[in-house]
């Protein structure tokens, strides 16, 4: 077994956003085993927590572990706090309450049929091409279209939003000063202007639909209406949290199913397993790496952490913590314990979790129907990014010719 000092030496400059970083899971296993509170000197320095119980405790203890910093590297000036993400209780609780009812399983069910129909079209177009890179053709547009439907924004805005999203995803947490500067000072203002325009239009709409944008246009905080800046900063959360997260999560899922035909067939023959499979994938491939700022001197696993220090919470590691899950390294759709931190925990539990779950379930259901068989065109071409939100960069799929013919025949004239 590797000693604490050896593991610490290995993570001395660890940064999840390092371009070309190889699969960090083996390293996370070493951290859990021998170095539960590690220290990285990268990006100004931060502690790294890797065990399930330490991470859930930090997420729940919001007065010690503040959300004023939520990712590594921290961005000092992000043109104002994102609502409600960057706030701690009690402000956080009051802001969040404004939208809670719009993101429940019941509320999300209202956009399911529409999202499913849009996904079917994306899959049909992908199959008509005979395969290709699944990321830009399906995995990127599907969550973005669902986001527009959910909020009540025009679908015609999709291409513009995708262009901005790509810049933010690539640059905002890159740690490269000129790129961060461009994202913050050029792209963010454009998105702010866009949101200001759309929410103002909605305020003036005499017959507004019952959706998130309307709720936001009428939102109150502590007995006064939201300011325009508050409205924009709330939309910014939905925008940044709802797009590349589901894309990334589905990327890992589809890659796994493409390379494990037995489990793909199991889901195909037993679609009732799909909701469990989604949870199991959220555990095994948790894609969001969180961070917090420590507000008072504290201690985790016997290691002191000082006020002002940043901690990184490796939820990806929590999902494979052997002390919580038997055979943590195996993907088992019939696992009994599918509790996980894929959506975090504590007061900041992902408000979009039910939307994300619906999107992933619908994706697996529709792929079952439209493309039961597929494989990686070239396993060597599949690369991943880790960062604050992990994902698959490229996922070239081949569809067996006979299945393509079936598809054309079924949907033909």
């Amino acid at each position: 077994m590797t000693g604490t000092e050896d593991v610490q030496a290995e993570v001395k400059d660890f940064f999840m956003g390092t371009p070309g970083l190889e699969d960090p899971h083996p390293l996370m296993g070493k951290l859990r085993a021998a170095c539960p509170v590690a220290h990285s000197e990268a990006m100004g320095g931060y502690k790294i927590l890797s065990r399930y119980l330490d991470i859930v405790a930090a997420l729940q203890d919001y007065s010690t572990f503040s959300n004023c910093v939520i990712a590594i590297p921290p961005i000092e000036d992000l043109r104002g706090k994102i609502i409600p993400l960057n706030y701690d209780p009690p402000e956080h609780t009051e802001y969040r309450q404004v939208f809670a009812a719009y993101f429940t399983p019941r509320a999300v069910a209202k956009v399911e049929a529409d999202a499913r129909a849009r996904l079917r079209t994306l899959l049909e177009n992908f199959l008509a091409k005979g395969g290709g890179d699944f990321v830009p053709h399906v995995l990127v547009p599907f969550p973005c279209v669902t986001f527009l439907l959910m909020l009540g924004l025009p679908l015609a805005d999709l291409d513009q939003l995708l262009e901005w999203k790509d810049v933010l995803v690539r640059d905002l947490l890159s740690g490269i000063p000129e790129r961060v500067n461009e994202a913050v000072n050029v792209v963010l203002p454009k998105i702010e202007n866009y949101f200001a325009q759309r929410v103002t239009e909605r305020e003036q709409d005499p017959n507004p639909p019952d959706d998130v944008l309307t709720a936001l246009s009428r939102a109150d905080f502590r007995g006064r209406p939201f300011t325009l800046v508050e409205k924009i900063q709330t939309l910014m959360l939905f925008f940044q949290a709802g797009l590349d997260t589901v894309t990334g999560q589905l990327g890992f899922i589809v890659e796994h199913l493409a390379t494990n035909p037995g489990q793909r067939r199991l889901l195909h023959d037993n679609p009732s397993l799909i909701p469990n499979a989604v949870e199991e994938y959220l555990r095994y491939f948790s894609i969001v790496t969180l961070a917090r700022k420590v507000m008072v001197d504290t201690e985790v696993a016997g290691v002191p952490i000082k006020a002002g220090e940043l901690v990184q919470l490796l939820t990806q590691s929590a999902g494979r913590d052997e002390s919580q899950y038997p055979n943590a390294g195996e993907i088992d759709f019939e696992r009994k314990n599918f509790k996980h931190l894929g959506f975090g925990a504590g007061p900041h539990r992902c408000i979009g979790s039910h939307l994300a779950r619906m999107e992933m379930r619908v994706a697996l259901e529709e792929m079952n129907e439209a493309m039961p068989d597929y494989a990686l065109a070239d396993p060597a071409s599949v690369t991943h990014h880790w960062g604050a939100v992990a994902g698959v960069d490229r996922l070239d799929l081949t569809i067996p010719a006979s299945k393509r013919d079936d598809h054309h025949h079924k949907d033909g004239p």
Binding site: V56, Q60, Q97, A100, A101, F103, T104, P105, R106, P275, K336, N337, F338, K339, H340, L341, F343, A345, G346, P347, R349, S353, H354
Partner: protein, 63 residues
């Protein structure tokens, strides 16, 4: 047995009412509530499943 949700700990993951809708319901804001405080021996396995599914350890089952 008595089945309870600690409302201070519940953050609306919605696992309980998704996994065992027979025993749990949702508030309009998506928080979990128990349908009945008292559960029978026959419902024990389902109740324990909900306890194990809650990421906040907000659900308790007591004799």
């Amino acid at each position: 047995m008595k089945l309870e949700i600690d409302p201070a700990a519940c953050t609306g993951h919605g696992r309980c009412y998704s996994v065992v809708p027979e025993l749990f319901d949702a508030t309009d804001d998506g928080y979990g509530i128990v349908r009945a405080e008292t559960v029978t021996e026959a419902q024990r396995a389902d109740a324990e499943r909900a306890v194990d599914s809650c990421p906040e350890q907000a659900i308790s089952l007591k004799p």
